[in-house]
């Protein structure tokens, strides 16, 4: 029983804030709208348990955050590239595999950072990351959130965070080099 919720008021008051948060995470308007609806549904269902310790808006956002994390978690893990793809396992152990050696040519296009096509290319590279990494990369490297906060939200340790950032950047660098800088 949803005591004293006026659904229309809720939507008018909170839908924009929820949607703004969702769209910044999923970059897909339809998916973001689904998240907003699911969040309201969950909110209506569990309003009895809302203790009023925070504002309704903060409480709904926390439900939404949880849903987005679950969504990334449930999505089938994309292929993670093994470190042996980048670094040699014999001979000069731990050195760059010849084909993977960074070319250092990103700096040549530094002036193009605001180029929309470049951003779209990087976005498509991000899509290839495992779901869990993607959320972490967004929070830490795109939104530059505090590391402690990112660890708490994604239930990982600081060294998990460093490993994810390292592996994700290796993959993103390779992807962007192939799709953009060498294209």
């Amino acid at each position: 029983m949803s005591q004293s919720i006026n659904i229309s008021d809720w939507v008018d008051q909170y839908a924009d804030a929820l949607y703004a948060y969702a769209i910044s995470r999923v970059d897909d308007p339809d998916q973001a709208k689904d998240f907003v609806q699911d969040t309201f549904l969950a909110g209506i269902k569990s309003y009895d348990k809302f203790e009023g310790k925070s504002s309704v808006k903060t409480w709904l956002i926390s439900i939404l955050k949880r849903k987005i994390i679950d969504y990334y978690r449930q999505r089938e893990a994309r292929k993670t590239t093994p470190l042996s793809h980048f670094f040699r396992e014999n001979g000069r152990k731990g050195h760059w595999v010849q084909d993977m050696a960074p070319k250092g040519n990103f700096a040549e296009d530094e002036s193009e950072i605001e180029n929309e096509e470049l951003k779209m290319t990087l976005q498509s590279c991000l899509e290839l990351l495992p779901g869990k990494w993607k959320g972490v990369v967004f929070d830490k490297l795109v939104d530059e959130k505090d590391s402690d906060e990112v660890c708490k939200e994604h239930e990982i340790t600081p060294s998990n965070l460093w490993v994810i950032v390292h592996r994700a950047k290796l993959q993103l660098r390779e992807c962007l080099e192939k799709k953009w800088f060498n294209a």
């Binding site: 939507v11 970059d27 951003k119």
Partner: protein, 78 residues
Amino acid sequence: MSCRKASYIIEKRWVSKISLWEKLSLKFHLMICNLCRKYESDSKILGKILKSLNKHEHSSHLSKTDKDALKDALKISE
């Protein structure tokens, strides 16, 4: 130090504090390793492009039509 470790410390350094030992061994590795210097340069630019994704091209508001549809959907499922 291997390039594998060096690239790890390079990435760790962008997001966290690193120890004095890590700092010195990275510095030494970068002096002798041209490829990791290139990696560091690429990684820095990649970091900047990632940050620039912050500004999204999608509208961050729902339209009135979207909100009305949302209200209807929620009322039905209530």
